[in-house]
């Protein structure tokens, strides 16, 4: 087992290194320049000397090899440097956004679980009845609707209904306050995007629950239980669901990792100052250091989640370890 864990751990290194190289190269392929942009974002005269100075100061005049090694060396020491755009430490820039993204990701995941498991179960148990069809249609509608469209409709709905019910229009706050500072403010901001994303992400998990459960229901031990005359409900709860949950949890885990960086569009609609928005901004600003740090953060979360999933699988199923 330890050997297996060690092997998996070592495999993370090339993946992260590869991700680092990939993002490094991709960024340098993007036409444009942070210095030009920073100095001439609006109108105005820009001294070419100033741009050279800016390049020198940000280390952009060094060769790509040196820049890359510098980036990796910093990453290894957990020193992410400063944002090329704002000149502030990346840790400071990311901290607040990370908190928000994490909260939304957790809340959305909880929503997804609370929707997916009961719906998936009903759907499997009532396979090929109208209940099954309705549940499946409902969950697929979640992926089919563009998330920004849903977001716009939610906000507009809130504004209109609050106006007609309370007399003055209400919308979620547009500025984040941590949960422990003002829970009400915090929740009234995060709940809607979390529900919208959670609904969306529940679709895959619902389908997974359904098919995993269907598979388990065909297994011998369930048939045995049924033959013994156990009540359907009991069978599902005690025997089937437990065994079907593993793949469901896996898929939710992996989606959680994506939620941390992939809420680009939803964050725009609800004005959430999260990692996705920061990512879009730093790509548009050619903020190399910031984009690199963000990509590495998301990649690291993804790789670690996968690692944990693998270990859990190996722990449950010894065959995997020896493969």
């Amino acid at each position: 087992m330890y050997q297996y864990i060690l092997k998996r751990l070592l495999l993370m290194i090339p993946t992260l290194l590869g991700a680092a190289l990939l993002v490094f190269l991709l960024l340098r392929l993007v036409p444009g320049d942070v210095c030009v942009l920073r100095m001439a974002g609006g109108a105005g005269y820009v001294d070419p000397k100033a741009i050279d100075l800016c390049h020198a100061e940000l280390g952009l005049d060094r060769s790509y090899v040196v820049q890359f090694l510098d980036f990796i060396w910093g990453f290894v020491r957990f020193d992410f440097g400063k944002s090329m755009w704002t000149g502030r430490p990346i840790v400071e820039e990311v901290a607040l956004r990370f908190e928000l993204s994490l909260q939304i990701a957790i809340m959305a995941t909880l929503t997804a679980i609370m929707l997916a498991i009961p719906l998936g179960t009903i759907s499997a148990v009532k396979q090929n009845t109208w209940i099954d069809y309705v549940v499946r249609a409902f969950s697929i509608a979640g992926i089919a609707m563009p998330s920004f469209w849903l977001g716009v409709l939610i906000i507009l709905g809130l504004l209109i209904t609050s106006k007609s019910v309370f007399g003055s229009p209400w919308m979620p706050p547009i500025k984040y306050v941590p949960l422990w500072v003002d829970p009400l403010h915090n929740l009234s901001m995060t709940i809607f995007p979390a529900l919208a994303t959670g609904y969306r992400y529940s679709a895959v998990a619902t389908r997974m629950t359904r098919s995993a459960l269907l598979e388990v229901l065909r297994e011998d031990y369930v048939r045995t239980a049924r033959a013994k005359g156990l009540v359907q409900k009991l069978i599902i709860r005690r025997h089937a669901l437990g065994n079907a949950l593993l793949p469901v949890v896996t898929i939710i885990g992996i989606e959680f990792a994506f939620l941390m960086g992939g809420l680009v569009v939803t964050e725009q609609v609800f004005n959430l100052n999260g990692l996705g928005k920061l990512f879009v901004a730093s790509v548009t600003n050619h903020d190399y250091t910031m984009t690199q740090a963000l990509v590495m953060l998301v990649a690291a979360i993804f790789v670690v989640t996968n690692f944990v999933v693998d270990i859990v699988y190996a722990w449950l199923d010894p065959r995997i370890r020896y493969k």
Partner: protein, 300 residues
């Protein structure tokens, strides 16, 4: 429609069962899988609309008509007009073309590259497999939209670049799925036999491996089309997708959806419905295909 027929042929090849006729095969499929059939119907309608857009659309989708701005749905403009006075219905009809073009092109190209990589990875195994898998891991570590954004940042906007941006993140996802199917086939005796006969790698891959992973390949194409349409819409929302005045659903929601959502809701509602319906159709149909032919692909 094309897919359905294509698949029909494929089924006859892989399944030993003799299907009495193609039509009744479709009928049985519809009975077993009413949701899938509904999805299929949506796809057929969409393809027809895109093909005959010139005949269906009553107006030029790009001509401004400032004397008819923000007209609500009426007999002249069935779904109203937008902020430039353009007919929303005509733009949705032509938008089906853009959606299908982006959707099919990116999912087809992405899945094809994925197919080649996945099969090669499974067939050669060993070092090549290990390296390919690591590369795929790297690409998979980027959320779909982030990868697409990076590609757009490099190539710029426009329909062609949007297709590239959507294709690239699809490749590793497809390769992974194909590889797992191909691994199973590789262990089958007849591949060993082929190798023992001294057939070339190319021949074994083309003649024996690829035909046997066609089912997951086609299922994936269908499932990806929906995702691609959505991704295109998201990119448009961020201002990075297809550009005005091209008629495209995602683009119609950008600006219009937000600014006029309340006072001229038809500008926002109808393209949104078109996208949802299309993605809904492709997802349902993809699901049904999967249930039918390859239940192992459930996590796709």
């Amino acid at each position: 429609m094309t897919i359905a027929t294509d698949l029909g042929t494929k089924v006859e090849l892989t399944d030993e069962r003799k299907a009495p006729s193609r039509l009744s095969a479709i009928g049985r499929f519809a009975r077993r899988n009413p949701l899938g059939a509904a999805g299929g119907a949506v796809i057929i309608v969409m393809v027809l609309v895109a093909m005959f857009a010139d005949f269906i659309a009553p107006y030029n989708p790009v001509a401004n008509a400032f004397d008819r701005m923000h007209e609500p749905p009426s007999l002249e403009n069935w779904l109203g007009t937008d902020q430039y006075g353009r007919d929303v219905f005509s733009r949705i009809v032509y938008g089906a073309r853009t959606a299908l073009l982006v959707g099919f092109a990116s999912s087809f190209v992405g899945a094809t590259f994925g197919l080649v990589l996945g099969v090669a990875s499974a067939y050669f195994s060993g070092k090549i497999d290990l390296i390919l898998q690591r590369i795929i891991d790297i690409f998979m570590a980027f959320p779909l939209i982030i990868m697409a954004l990076a590609v757009i940042a490099i190539f710029g906007t426009g329909a062609q670049n949007v297709i590239i941006a959507i294709t690239i993140p699809f490749i590793p996802r497809c390769a992974r799925v194909v590889r797992s199917s191909a691994l199973a086939i590789r262990e089958l005796p007849y591949i060993d036999a082929a190798r023992a006969n001294g057939f070339s790698h190319t021949r074994i891959i083309l003649r024996h491996m690829i035909p046997n992973v066609m089912a997951p390949f086609l299922i994936m194409i269908t499932a990806f089309v929906g995702q691609a349409i959505l991704l295109e819409a998201s990119l448009s929302y961020l201002g990075l997708g297809v550009q005005e005045p091209t008629p495209a659903w995602g683009l119609m929601l950008q600006g219009g959806a937000e600014e006029y959502a309340e006072s001229a809701p038809w500008i926002a509602i109808f393209p949104g419905i078109a996208i949802s319906l299309a993605v809904f159709g492709f997802s349902l149909f993809g699901d049904a295909l999967r249930d039918e032919f390859d239940p192992r692909l459930r996590s796709l």
